[in-house]
């Protein structure tokens, strides 16, 4: 299934819009409440600081009290905002996913990253944060899984104590359990230039594959342990689609065919399926953005000829027609 310009039926769209209106009311209420709370806290904090400073004569302690109250208030506000945004996202994404034939869960812990890591499809990382797990069956009965991932690498700083974490990947990870078995391993990785490829390829057991398209070879480096298998999988059409996907993606897409699975890592530079910020209006644009992210993800699956199976007719539609 390819997502058309409007893949949601009118009933689903109406349901989403109604739920979004409720969420928007909650957002406005929370935002107003947080603003009021902020003003009250500011007043109370200034008063407390004045008392501590004048009555007890401890000016430094007064600043400490102010900062502590401010931090507690910020943590509390952040907690409330993220709780509402996550709930909104889970509800909207869950409904969109159901309408399009996906299973959805907000928490994606347990998604196997090891295979991606082993194939070198991801940058080196020490900490992962996975969410928005979507799974579905393709038209040919293969299982497709998709998660939104944020990967971080540990780094040390002279200025600050303890380990720091730097984001090295924010994007989507796709995994398809392919019906056909790949006898060999084929990797489509970002091209690292002549020197980078030579150094990177030095210790590899597989060998580089030079394909016919100069543009493709400038963008990607292909490694395989069977030259024929690589060309069977990377037909001119697939190569063209890889370039199209690259044009839509912040980082170069990394693709692996290995052990009967197709793995795709798409560094988008920003999280997907997100609700708008608390200060932005939550209208239909919120789920349109989620749909755009899904269109993009399914476009990546289509790259390799994987289409979703048509979703089952909805319960309500069935009972309505009966």
């Amino acid at each position: 299934m390819v997502l058309s310009d409007d893949p949601l039926d009118s009933a689903t769209r109406a349901e989403l819009e109604s739920r979004l209106a409720e969420l928007e009311a909650e957002r406005v209420a929370l935002f107003d409440w947080l603003k009021k709370l902020g003003l009250i806290l500011l007043g109370v904090t200034l008063a407390a600081m004045a008392i501590v400073s004048t009555v007890f004569g401890a000016e430094e302690d007064a600043y400490f009290v102010g900062i502590a109250v401010l931090l507690v208030a910020l943590v509390y506000a952040f907690h409330r905002i993220s709780k509402l945004r996550n709930r909104g996202k889970a509800e909207l994404m869950g409904r969109i996913a159901q309408a399009l034939g996906f299973d959805y869960r907000l928490n994606a812990a347990g998604f196997p990253l090891e295979h991606f890591r082993r194939l070198g499809l991801l940058p080196r990382f020490d900490r992962d944060n996975l969410h928005d797990h979507l799974s579905a069956e393709t038209a040919s009965g293969e299982r497709l899984e998709l998660v939104d991932a944020k990967l971080e690498r540990k780094s040390r700083s002279r200025k600050r104590r303890g380990p720091q974490y730097r984001t090295v990947f924010t994007g989507l990870l796709l995994r398809v359990d392919a019906a056909e078995t790949f006898s060999d391993q084929v990797l489509v990785l970002k091209d690292s230039g002549m020197v980078g490829n030579a150094l990177g390829g030095w210790l590899r057991s597989d060998e580089p594959v030079h394909l016919e398209s100069t543009r493709f070879n400038e963008t990607f480096t292909v490694y395989a342990n069977d030259q024929v298998e690589a060309r069977r999988l990377l037909t001119p059409t697939v190569m063209q689609r890889c370039l199209e996907l690259d044009a839509q993606t912040a980082g170069t897409p990394q693709i692996g065919f290995s052990e009967g699975r197709i793995l795709i890592a798409l560094d988008r530079g920003a999280p997907s399926f997100e609700m708008p910020q608390i200060w932005q209006k939550w209208d239909a644009a919120a789920f349109e953005a989620m749909l755009d992210d899904l269109r993009y993800a399914l476009g990546a699956a289509r790259l390799l000829g994987r289409e979703l199976a048509q979703p089952e007719p909805r319960e309500t539609a069935r009972s309505g027609s009966a």
């Binding site: 030079h210 394909l211 016919e212 030259q227 024929v228 298998e229 690589a230 060309r231 069977r232």
Partner: protein, 190 residues
């Protein structure tokens, strides 16, 4: 002066040897690619007797076509020397001929409803498509290897070194006929 001459000679020897290594490596690569093409072509050859046995039962009026497929298969299966570009070209031409005849056979079989719907024929067509897809991939590998070899052979001083080492350019494995290269007009198929 003598030193300069010596360095130049040494440089020429190093470059010459380097080029020789590249030539031999590319030739071996092209021959390896040719072997992999042959592996997949053999699968095509193995398919032919089954298709012919089935076709003979239904396509009594296509005797000439069936005989030509048999003859082309025999020709394509004939042994050849992978190191001799002329023989390689002859072998690849024979394969192209067999591919064309098989395509024609499958196209003609469409006019025989009983044959078209026979389960064995459907199975054979499916296998044929898979085999052709693998042959196409192997052909791309071979042509890529041949491009590298021919470039190394034809660029000076490769032409001189190749002549001394007995390395010759190899033929490409072209598509079956010119019509397959033409752009498809969608209007013809709508």
């Amino acid at each position: 002066m003598e030193w300069v001459l010596l360095v130049l000679i040494l440089l020429a020897v190093v470059v010459g040897y380097g080029w020789y290594v590249v030539l031999i490596r590319n030739r071996n690569r092209a021959q390896e690619a040719l072997s992999s093409v042959d592996v997949h072509l053999r699968k095509r050859h193995d398919l032919v007797p089954n298709v012919l046995a089935l076709a003979r039962r239904f396509m009594e009026h296509e005797k000439e076509l069936l005989e030509s497929v048999t003859a082309l298969r025999s020709k394509a299966q004939a042994p050849y020397d992978k190191g001799d570009p002329e023989q390689v070209k002859g072998h690849l031409d024979a394969e192209r001929g067999l591919q064309g005849a098989l395509r024609q056979l499958f196209a003609v079989s469409e006019s025989y409803p009983e044959l078209r719907s026979a389960e064995t024929m459907l199975e054979a067509q499916k296998t044929y498509r898979e085999v052709e897809s693998n042959i196409a991939a192997a052909r791309r590998f071979y042509n890529s290897a041949v491009t590298r070899l021919n470039t190394a052979v034809q660029i000076f001083p490769g032409s001189v070194i190749a002549g001394m080492a007995g390395v010759r350019p190899m033929p490409f494995f072209e598509l079956e006929d010119e019509s397959m290269r033409q752009p498809v007009n969608a209007a013809d198929h709508i």
